[in-house]
């Protein structure tokens, strides 16, 4: 269990590295594959809650370090209405919330139905982007939701979802190598049938 958790943390860090090579697709409204979020979501469903929360903290903290913009510059007398960006640390809570959502279907995953978790990861990515956009709107005011924004969120979710079987495959391989059963219920059911 500890070995598996430790390797998933390394896997998440590797996802941060791989994310550097993921360009945005200008033709698809600057959508991209959110590999960090995907690895976290797929891993979250395989872990116990405390380990998931550790992963959420690491993921959220580094994601904010990756994305946070610098402070405002210029004279406040001229730029009286400065535009705020997302506060450092918000991603930790978002990652935590996403992880809890994924753990909500852990009983199904433990029955061996990983496909449902894979589908849910796409839905959760869409929710994650929606919440991020709503926070930006809340902080900056003036609600505007363009078709381009919706399409960007949609394409990002779909592109990311397409990679989830690969990530689950990798997790199954790691779990097998570590001797850690990530869906023991399925194993029990199989034994009962035999």
């Amino acid at each position: 269990m500890i070995r598996y958790t430790f390797i998933t943390i390394l896997l998440l860090l590797a996802a941060f590295v791989a994310q550097q090579f993921m360009p945005s697709f200008a033709e698809l409204y600057q959508s991209r594959i959110l590999l960090v979020q995907l690895v976290f979501l797929c891993t979250a469903v395989t872990l116990e809650q405390p380990a998931m929360l550790i992963l959420a903290f690491i993921g959220g903290l580094f994601w904010d370090a990756h994305c946070a913009l610098g402070p405002h510059g210029g004279s406040p007398e001229v730029y009286t209405q400065q535009v705020e960006s997302l506060h450092f640390g918000y991603s930790i809570l978002l990652f935590g919330a996403m992880g809890l959502l994924m753990q909500g279907i852990q009983p199904l995953f433990r029955q061996g139905k990983w496909q449902i978790s894979a589908l849910l990861s796409g839905v959760v990515i869409f929710l994650y982007l929606t919440v991020e956009y709503l926070i930006i709107t809340f902080v900056r005011g003036d609600f505007t939701l363009t078709k381009a924004t919706l399409l960007q969120m949609g394409f990002t979710s779909i592109l990311t979802l397409l990679f989830s079987p690969l990530v689950f495959g990798l997790l199954f391989w790691i779990a097998k190598a570590c001797g850690h059963p990530i869906y023991p219920q399925a194993g029990r059911n199989r034994r009962r049938i035999h």
Partner: protein, 270 residues
């Protein structure tokens, strides 16, 4: 809830509060650590993206390029004529300055850089350039292209000689702007949720009776302490009159979809 889960949740919330209460300086330190660790991968990622961009450029249809070449040629001829006229005016201006004992004309001290990475985050309009601290670049410096203002330096990657530029098309990049041929002054910034190559910018806080028309040029005022005056920002596309103030949509002068070489303004003569 199991006691272990509860303890983990409390630690998690405590960690979140810790992160939330970090000052800007502490956040920069966390980012420095993160980007230092990512440094070798960032360089490879940038190279890969630059290659992919070059490949996409090469595969553009030849017909399109032919048309572009034709346009460039005609523009070059036109510019040659303008340049000769400009030289005449410059000489005349120099003579007049001497005569009036004026100061030497303002000039910028520029660093030429290449865009090596586009839009590395989901929501912010930023690009990375291949120059940083080693080239004397700091944050909040204006970035130009031959077409006009591109944005400002938002972040320096420590010990990596690269920086992140917040583009003019981002909502957070605000520029004090004036409209040519009118007394109108406002704040220009990008618009949220615009992901096409060249989105329109929004010029806010204009007077209610702003007499503006499409095609008027918009320049920086030089107020606010970041951008030097008289840098071209774009041209007025349309004007929306409001009850308290007016707003104008501005077409940027820079082609943000095809940024290559950009210049960071290190200093400008007063």
């Amino acid at each position: 809830m199991k006691p272990l889960n509860l303890i983990a949740l409390l630690f998690f919330l405590g960690g979140s509060v810790w992160a939330f209460t970090r000052s800007d300086r502490a956040v920069c330190e966390v980012q420095d650590v993160y980007f230092s660790a990512m440094s070798p991968f960032l360089k490879s990622g940038s190279k890969l993206e630059a290659k992919a961009h070059a490949f996409r450029q090469e595969t553009r249809r030849s017909k399109e390029l032919e048309v572009e070449l034709q346009t460039v040629r005609s523009n070059m001829d036109r510019l040659a004529i303008i340049e000769s006229r400009y030289r005449e005016l410059e000489n005349e201006n120099e003579q007049l300055r001497h005569a009036l004992n004026y100061k030497k004309a303002n000039h910028f001290d520029l660093v030429a850089t290449q865009v090596i990475r586009r839009q590395p985050t989901t929501w912010w309009q930023t690009v990375d350039i291949d120059a940083g601290e080693e080239s004397g670049i700091g944050t909040q410096l204006a970035v130009l292209s031959s077409e006009g203002l591109v944005g400002k330096v938002d972040r320096i990657y420590k010990d990596q000689n690269r920086s992140s530029v917040l583009l003019l098309t981002d909502e957070k990049c605000q520029v004090s702007a004036r409209v040519e041929g009118s007394p109108e002054v406002g704040i220009l910034s990008g618009q949220r949720g615009r992901f096409d190559g060249n989105p329109l910018l929004r010029l806010r806080f204009l007077s209610t009776d702003a007499a503006l028309h499409a095609g008027q040029k918009v320049f920086t005022t030089g107020r606010g302490g970041i951008f030097q005056p008289n840098i071209l920002l774009g041209t007025i596309d349309s004007v929306e009159k409001g009850a308290l103030d007016s707003e104008a949509l501005v077409r940027p002068s820079v082609n943000f979809a095809d940024l290559g070489t950009v210049f960071v303004v290190l200093t400008a003569d007063p």
